[in-house]
Symmetry: C2
Subunit: 117 residues, 2 copies
Amino acid sequence: MKALSRQPSQEACVPADDDRLDLRPVEGKGVDEELAALAKAVAHPARVRIVRLLLRRTSCMCGDIVDELPLAQSTVSQHLKVLKAAGLIRGEVEGARVCYWVAPRTVRRLKALVAAL
Amino acid sequence: MKALSRQPSQEACVPADDDRLDLRPVEGKGVDEELAALAKAVAHPARVRIVRLLLRRTSCMCGDIVDELPLAQSTVSQHLKVLKAAGLIRGEVEGARVCYWVAPRTVRRLKALVAAL
DNA sequence: AGCTTTCATCGTCTTTTTACGATACCAGAG
DNA sequence: CTCTGGTATCGTAAAAAGACGATGAAAGCT
């Protein structure tokens, strides 16, 4: 059933996310809310850390994130939930574990919105 | 007494903020907190709006911000306080009014930190 | 001196965030 | 099937954020 196991040692573990150019506007009424929402997702040191961890890792990383942070497992899980809700990361159940990776498209969007300031 | 009145129609109202290149690191322990703090300052639609307003205006803008937002004056004042505390904007009393402008250096710093993700 | 305008701060209330332990869930090992 | 390890979710508590009206302070006008 095509188990999509973590790629052993390739460039990154991002499952071919949308890589096209983003043509959406970078300012306007709704865009303010969009930027605010993305900024809020990153508005916590632990979540910044998580995003960085996922970006730097060549493999998918699962709950090893918990070991990297001085927080309880449930708290880390909450932060992951926030990041996922914002679309910054994605997660997929991998047997007993869960594999997380960043959503490059949303990260690019965040960069574009901030850069457009 | 050199009243520093709002420049009538020049490029921007930014009073010659530090314009040198920023050589501080863009990742690391303390940097996560720095980015988180800056992101938090922008993690609200009203504050994004304010920053944009101040960036786009050729004149300084004062409490006209209040007229642009669907919020009470005290609430807007609070948002301005948050932005000022984060170093993203600066304010100076101008007679009975207060002149706000963005701090380009901090905005650049934010852009650098996000771009480095 | 009074009055008005402009803005900040205070006090209060409501909502959201953050954090944790406890518990439930699910997949794999034995 | 039972146990175990890895996660998510629940319940709860504390803290912070967000919003508003009321009040206060300073400046300018009459």
